[in-house]
Amino acid sequence: MRNSIRGTLITYLILGLLVTSAFISVLTHYIAGQELEELYDKNMQQITTVLLNQTPATLKAHSIQQKIRANLEGEEEFLIQIWQKDRTLLYSSHSLLTLPLQSTLGFGFVNFKHEPWRYFSDTVDDITVQISQPTLARERVILEVSSQFLVPLLLQIPILGLLIWIVVGQGLKPMIQVSNAIRSRDSEALQPLAIDSLPEEIKPTIQALNELLERLDQALKVQRRFTADAAHELRTPLTAVQLQLDLLNRSQSKNDKQEALTKLNAGVKRSIHVVRQLLALAHQEPEANTHNFEKLNLSLLLSECLSVVQDIASKKNISLIGPNNTNIMAIFGKRSSIRILIDNLLDNSIRYTTAGGKIQIVLDETTTEMVMQIIDNGIGIAVAERARVFDRFYRIPGSEESGTGLGLAIVQAIVKQHAGSIQLDDGFAGKGLAVRIIFPKK
């Protein structure tokens, strides 16, 4: 069946009406039966009493017999029999029906002519009166009476059905209005829907929808700004590559060509780096799923990352000191993300530490937290800048090193995804930078 409020309502209401109608009919039939039985029994008793008050002689008279017949008109179903003391039949309302006089007086049932009869008999002096009636005759009347109650019951079904149809339609009108209002919007229009005029029942739904629209609007704005920034950030390295390629094409001598190629190579590498950083950031959005988290050995991951950058550090004559704590430091997270986090922090540290400098990594563990610190004595970040460096594409003014301005934004996104926190402090002896990442223990 189609999922429709109107259809469901009507179906169940009519089913309910039918069931209650049937129940009422049965009940009516039962109660009416009881009443009618009583009524008929009383009737039998009264007629008997009247007849017993007569003398045999009067009863014998033709005129009386006529009178009885007249009085009983419409109650032909009653068989009235009067006997004398000597068991001779004095009178019978239906002479063809010869129901014998029953042995016990009072009410009783007897089988006669293949059907059950109800009878009542009483005797005074020398007269015995017996009134009997086929039970089927009684039941026919009962059925007739109770069926008269059924008609209005059945009649209300179509009337109520129509009423429900109309009322439900009226009730659902605001829903249709809302859906029309939503349908007529384009995908850019994310302002909330008006809810003041809506019925109480659908207000919460539209309220929830409005909240969703607002979140969507926010997310869309963030996304748009990101796309604009990303486009800007991609244009710069691509411009460099384009110019380097133009220069390569123009170069005449072998030396010029070689120099241009080296520069082009650097330009392409830089473009790739920007693209990688952008993708890394996109992958670290907080909404990103956390179901591929696993138990990770932080000290092992760190030493893997350190071995990759050791060469670069040595070339700059920077001493890169790994953690002395090589116990298993287990955290719960996404392997690729944690690697990107460590790579970015080490890259930053090496980039902004001057030749001959020092970078040290420290791992600590408390009962509830894992703490990783990367401390250097490089150029550091001024206190005033520390809050802003996590913004996407933010670069410290006058920064000599080339960068995308995404590194710390990526780091922060990963930390957030892992429910951790990040702090920036002074590095060694008030110089440089100390980055402290705190992961909660699961």
């Binding site: 244009r235 710069t236 691509l238 590559v241 384009q242 220069l247 123009r250 520069k263 003014p397």
Partner: protein, 219 residues
């Protein structure tokens, strides 16, 4: 012809300086807004290439200050911002042209030539004095239709003289046109270039007015 390149990106600046120098321009490179402003105050340029996202002082600010000093220097904006509103802001601030990154070197050079031509009030791109013609696009210098091969500096020197026919340029003025901030100038460099040009084009190509300087002659 001296150009001030204002660009904070190392790779882009490096490539542009190299390419434009090869094309015979003298290119000074300022990497931030303050340096650019200083350069513009101290040196007479023929054109400025301006990036908008600069450290220390924004490109728009540099441009505004330049126009406030009533300078008519042609300014070509080079930027990665491509919104219509950005272009409007740039052009309203007094830029003469606008090029969105990434761009083609050929296009940049064509636009530079167009701006310089407009500044000199020329409509034709080829310069012509008597039998001497110079094509800034192809770097071709001809005497009576016969092509002559000049070095980049020689080309720049004859071009500087041809741009102002009749005007006498002193040695120091020519040095300024030919040598950028970081270039070493040998004491008699200009004289050496002039000697070479006369040898290639003919003695009458450059006229020497003793004590005053040089001007382009009639061939």
């Amino acid at each position: 012809m001296r150009i001030l390149l204002i660009e904070d990106d190392q790779m882009i600046g490096d490539s542009l300086q190299k390419a434009l120098t090869q094309s015979g321009y003298t290119v000074d490179w300022a990497k931030d807004g303050n340096t650019a402003e200083e350069g513009l105050k101290q040196q007479a340029y023929d054109l400025a290439l301006l990036d908008l996202g600069l450290p220390k002082k924004s490109g728009i600010e540099v441009l505004n200050n330049l126009r406030q000093r009533k300078s008519t220097l042609p300014v070509l904006i080079l930027t990665a911002r491509d919104q219509i509103s950005d272009r409007v802001i740039g052009l309203d601030a007094g830029a003469d042209d606008y090029l969105v990154k990434p761009f083609d070197l050929e296009e940049l050079e064509a636009r530079i030539r167009a701006l310089l031509r407009r500044r000199e009030g020329r409509t034709e791109s080829i310069m012509r004095i008597g039998a001497l013609t110079l094509n800034p696009l192809t770097h071709e210098v001809c005497v009576a239709g016969e092509p002559k091969i000049l070095s980049a500096k020689e080309f720049a020197l004859i071009q500087a003289l041809m741009r102002r026919p009749g005007a006498v340029l002193s040695v120091s003025e020519l040095e300024e046109q030919l040598y950028g901030w970081n270039e070493e100038i040998e004491s008699n460099a200009i004289e050496v270039h002039i000697y070479q040009i006369r040898k290639k084009l003919g003695k009458q190509a450059i006229v020497n007015l003793r004590g005053a300087g040089y001007k382009v002659g009639q061939l």
